[in-house]
Symmetry: C2
Subunit: 652 residues, 2 copies
């Protein structure tokens, strides 16, 4: 209270005592800073840091001794050294429970998604990668596993080169190659801290992309549900529906009935979880339950005689090495390269977004670039041990979190459960009917089509909705990469439009205050006599410099036309407070604006240029040309300045 | 003076009378506007207008009667109706002089550039297009003609498909086709008001591109200067130098000597103009002078016997129709398409920029989109009357302006001079030695390599310099399209980095004022107790939302570490005054920031959200969640508010 009183009375004093020319602008406290520009290297370093280390990962290292630094560095790069030393038996109980729960989900999901990727029904991918993640990963809650979207991308891309039924071994090799490539890309992105690339996948793009992928996967599962023998390898809605229609005579009613029952059961389980979050385990064990019931049914009822296909022989034994399977043959390399690149980005975006969402729930932060390194390592090692692409799937991570996991140990537990299964229980699962797997996948996918989110986007931001629908429709009706590129392209066009056509507004005085705000937003605000105040709200540079000039000149023209007689526009105040940077084209535009306006006997005054802009205006001699007395710290000061100091000045 | 006193004393009164909780935030004058968001259609219309009609071309039409509107529309689309009715005999004298001057430049330039484009030495291109421009063009000073850069682009692109010496007719046909395509693209861009595309060619790109092109053209002219018979069709520096070296035995010393003398003479003429702008005509008639001297020399001295090549037979007669020459054959169409597209953009960017530069000198504005339509029409008609690509060349326009032209009539005069030349004088020019043309082109090109501008860029903006050099080196050492794409690509990356990594800064109070400014820029500014003020300086959306979160949280973390005991951070003020828009990802990020901070018992307060942002925050219910009492109109208000109203509030 005291402080404000102090300021106000000072002001009053100044107003009473000061007055006349320069009485205001000369006040030292309100001086604009014309410091010499920072050195190029300083600015460059700071930009480099902001671009690649926005999260300031080495903050904790400052001012520490060398051994402490070394220890911290190891802990930073290999997080297991951070959490394992403090690990307590009490925590293990939680992690054990969570680990077993996600393992029960991993077995049916692993088999299902392998089927989706057109590779043999292996669950090896849930054994090695979780162990790697436990060592290098920084998220406590993330549960490692294969995901439907990446499985389908791999299948869709590699099938175009090699038919998985005709040449299964080559196909499998290319899948491992794609996994290796994907892992390498993730590792490189992480090491070079290119997390910035993932920033360009917006929530809207991801929502649409996931929805479209989920729809396609759902439709593909109808093959399993109907028990069809023939189907299409294409992944667009029209091909899939046509394939079902053409093969409608193959539909097996027993399969359809069982599939429908399973699907309804799984959906009910999810519904229970939604209504009573405490009963989350119902939904978590439901897939395992469906698989067991399916196996029993198939065994007792001799399902194959009724035309219901089962998974068939599942090999016992843990992951064989697969280095020899990696295939960089020129003839095929394009497919795994493409698959690897897309899946790396999608899996990263998904994995990081999911890890982050759960970290936020517990008010912690995770480092996207470090996560990338962990994902990369886990996929590189995975590709050499018969695993295909893994990331942090939403469903599994949610179950892990709800089951009360405390550390990355839950992944270790899951991994051990998978090992036991691989060693001893695998043959039991060979009776799993395909229709059960289809029902599990379909049920999971139905949850990923977020109608409500799309509707919310429609309500709140039409352009975001269009970006979302571009991804959805592109994926559903053309192909995954087209959908993704279309959506990212639109988002970039929007971003470029933001750049090319930034908002600038005319400011007016809010009555009885010293505030100046956008007159469109505050219609009661009043004009300042003889003065037009234009707020420029974005960096000024090549893409928008021409537009800025038009806007400012147009605004002045309109004002000249609208003002009363005797209130000619004499000053144009450019409020640069929102301009974070400027390039050469931008500076030249300011020169042009000034020339044009001064020729009309209108003086241009700059208000509050920020650090970077001021530096550029100084090195280009713009400040020298316009004169330091034409630059003010606030709009108020500028208006005072115009009244007193500048009114006696001569024109150009 | 009165006004300010009024405000200050009101403030004092308020401070004395008010006090205590809410005494400040409740002030009606300082209310934040929570108006219901504007309708989608309103916003969309406004965006559409800003995107495609930033120059508000129909401003004059408002409130006029229908016949007036119709008349204005005709005048708008066909500017000749605007200036011709008011045309006076006195103006014609100026235009006549200017027209004759540019015609004297057009003859040697026309022959030279045609040679550059590998087409027969015709000057037809300076007859029809200027007439069309005089009708549809809106710039008074622009002189129509062919330009070196486009000529070379056409030659470089079409030569890859058809060899101009082996198949000259097909080659010529494709040049006309490229001109037609270029014209159509310009017309379409103008009609759909896509002038926005040209915005993405920055000054730096154009400087580098022109410099690189000029260098290549200069080197190519060495063929003519040295009188070589064999040369390379490639357009990169290395190929050209190698070609000169390989054919060094063909060098004719007479030719080299004459070329050097001509070149020195032309450069001296330019030097005279630079020193004494009044003697501009020396430079303007110098090329014509060189051509005449060359012709006389060649005729008297029987130049061909000394191995000095001359232009050879020049056909008499005005432009034959060339509709039948247009060739859309699938086999070749790629080349004219590419040439048409690049030349359309380059010619437009150059033409519009040049037209604008001269308009600014006279304080007038020209409409880029209308210029495009004029350029498009002039090239479409041109391509059907044996003309190749024309635009507004810098040299010619500068001469036109300096010669005192007043209206587009100068183009008509030039056109008539060209007609007379075509009808009667053409054979006289057949003796023009090629070495004279080479010297003219080389001299013109030397002026386009703007070392000083590049150095200025290096001094003032390193990234702009890189963009410029990318264009220069790309054009010089690879090819024109690679250079252009590289440079535009870099400029876009920079633009996207501006988006992805916007500046945000910590604000502090400037002592003895109520101003809050970036503490990095104003190091004397002091912290506000218990409060961190972060200014966000750009739209918040998908590409930078994650970064923004990091920045805000990092800033709060640093502050928590640096503040003295007893001065815990309790409030975070987000100054949104510089945030011109926000998308869904951005809103979700604000939600995340709030969640994270509130969990640490830090309250988030918003300051001065702008119109678009406020609308989005209202429709997404963010304002409702955070509470209207947490939104303030200015930083001062917010600090007051935190002290009084919010300090008693409970946490989440």
């Amino acid at each position: 209270m005291k402080r404000r009183g102090g300021i106000a009375s000072q002001w009053l004093l100044k107003v009473v005592a000061g007055g006349g020319r320069g009485g205001y602008a000369g006040d030292t406290a309100r001086k604009v800073s014309f410091e010499a520009p920072r050195k190029f290297t300083t600015v460059f370093k700071s930009h480099l840091k902001e671009t690649f280390f926005p999260d300031d990962p080495f903050y904790d290292f400052k001012g520490k001794s060398l051994p402490v630094k070394a220890k911290k560095a190891i802990q930073y790069f290999v997080p297991i050294f951070q959490w394992l030393p403090n690990y307590k038996a009490k925590l293990f109980l939680y992690d054990l429970l969570a680990g077993i729960t996600i393992a029960s989900l991993a077995i049916p999901q692993g088999i299902s998604y392998a089927k989706l990727a057109n590779i043999p029904p292996v669950i090896d991918s849930s054994f090695v990668p979780p162990l790697i993640y436990a060592v290098f990963g920084s998220s406590k809650y993330l549960a490692v596993g294969t995901v439907a979207s990446s499985s389908l991308i791999i299948a869709a891309t590699i099938s175009t080169k090699v038919n998985p039924t005709e040449n299964p071994q080559l196909y499998l090799n290319l899948v491992f190659t794609a996994t290796l490539i994907s892992g390498l890309i993730e590792l490189v992105l992480g090491v070079f801290r290119l997390g910035i690339l993932v920033d360009f996948l917006s929530h809207s793009t991801i929502t649409g992309f996931m929805g479209g992928t989920a729809l396609i996967i759902c439709l593909h599962q109808l093959k399993g549900i109907f028990g069809l023998k023939h189907f299409t390898p294409h992944t667009d809605v029209i091909s899939v529906i046509r394939a079902i229609f053409q093969n409608r005579k193959e539909i097996i009613w027993e399969s359809t009935l069982i599939g429908a029952i399973f699907l309804i059961f799984l959906q009910l389980a999810r519904f229970v979880k939604q209504k009573k979050p405490k009963l989350f385990w119902v939904s978590a064990i439901a897939p395992m339950f469906v698989v067991i019931i399916g196996c029993v049914l198939a065994y007792v009822w001799h399902a194959e005689k009724h035309g219901i296909a089962i998974v068939g022989e599942l090999k016992k034994g843990i992951n064989p090495p697969s280095l020899k399977n990696i295939d960089f043959d020129r003839k095929y390399i394009a497919a795994p390269l493409q698959a690897g690149f897309i899946t790396a980005l999608v899996a990263l975006a998904e994995g990081i977004a999911i890890g982050r969402s759960f970290a936020i729930l517990q008010n912690e932060q995770i480092d996207g670039n470090k996560e990338m390194i962990a994902f990369g390592l886990m996929n590189i090692v995975g590709s050499l041990t018969s695993c295909y692409l893994t990331t942090g799937p939403f469903s599994k991570t949610a179950v892990n979190y709800n089951a009360g996991c405390k550390t990355q140990m839950a992944n270790v537990v899951m991994s051990l459960c998978m090992m036991l299964t691989l060693l001893f229980l695998a043959p039991l699962f060979s009776y799993t009917p395909l229709v059960a797997l289809s029902a599990i996948i379909m049920s999971a996918m139905l949850g990923l089509i977020e109608y409500d989110k799309a509707y919310h986007l429609y309500k709140t931001d039409k352009f975001d909705f269009i970006i979302c629908m571009a991804a959805f429709l592109g994926v559903a009706f053309v192909s995954m990469d087209v959908g993704l590129m279309l959506s990212v392209g639109l988002a970039l066009v929007r971003a470029l439009l933001y750049i090319a056509r930034p908002t600038s507004s005319k400011l007016c005085n809010i009555p009885d205050t010293s505030l100046y705000r956008d007159v469109e937003q505050y219609p009661d605000a009043t004009d300042v006599s003889k003065t037009v105040i234009v707020q420029i709200g974005s960096p000024i540079y090549f893409a928008n410099a021409g537009y800025m000039r038009e806007r400012v000149l147009r605004c002045v023209r309109d004002e000249k036309a609208n003002r009363l007689q005797g209130d000619d526009v004499e000053y144009v105040l450019l409020d640069l407070g929102g301009v974070s940077s400027i390039d050469m084209t931008g500076v030249e535009t300011l020169v042009e604006i000034r020339k044009t306006l001064e020729a009309k006997y209108i003086k241009v005054v700059l208000v509050n240029p920020r650090l970077e802009v001021m530096e550029k205006l100084i090195v280009t001699n713009f400040i020298e040309k316009i004169g330091k007395e034409r630059v003010f710290l606030s709009i108020e000061d500028a208006i005072e300045g115009c009244k007193f100091s500048l009114s006696h000045e001569r024109y150009l």
